[in-house]
Symmetry: C2
Subunit: 127 residues, 2 copies
């Protein structure tokens, strides 16, 4: 599956853990000083990263890997998810991996349907 | 650059053409019956695809490839762009390539800052 890429092996182990509901195991592949470039901005350190990805992992109801590639230090994952508020929410991640730990992740996804779902829920709660 | 992946060679030629300002050349790598899964939904056919990506290509002021991988039929590109309305707008694409033509693209990016920029411009125009 990882085609001899050590970075991809780590990225896939991380992905399989969090999409499988074991976020604590996923965090064992994350460096303490991880830097994450997410749509809302830059997150520094494992605690900030956990605060972002942990809640997301708990609303995912389906996940499917669309593509995965890697080399010695870099891996890319493209995946689709269904979540409780939004169906068909794809994501892309580019990982840098050093000594089996993810030191940098760039995450790309569309925040717009999540914002719309929050607004619709707030409108229902208020109406 | 394409590491022996014919799909990646086509994806990179497409990317270099559109980010270099030659969208007509980019379209020579696109199949007539391309299917594109974009954040706003599914686009079918080269004309619909051109109507989506052409305008985007004209607002890009800087582009930088972050990662690119591929195999026989699939390629992924992760890139960052600056655009006229939004700085630091990364994107991810997963291409399927058949006989040198891109038959399927899944594009992932965050629509939210573009929507916000449009709203801000409309508010300025109205105020």
């Amino acid at each position: 599956m990882s085609n001899g890429s050590p970075a991809l092996a780590t990225a896939l182990a991380y992905f399989e853990a969090w999409t499988g509901g074991d976020f604590d195991r996923a965090m064992t592949f994350v460096a303490d000083d991880i830097v994450c470039q997410a749509p809302a901005g830059r997150l520094e350190g494992a605690d900030a990263f956990r605060g972002f990805m942990g809640p997301f992992s708990r609303i995912v109801t389906r996940s499917e890997l669309v593509a995965s590639f890697g080399d010695d230090t870099k891996a890319v994952l493209i995946y689709d998810t269904d979540t409780i508020p939004v169906k068909d929410a794809p994501g892309a991640e580019c990982h840098t991996v050093v000594d089996g730990k993810i030191t940098h992740i760039r995450i790309i996804f569309d925040r717009e349907p999540f914002t719309e779902a929050r607004r619709a829920a707030a409108a229902r709660a208020g109406g």
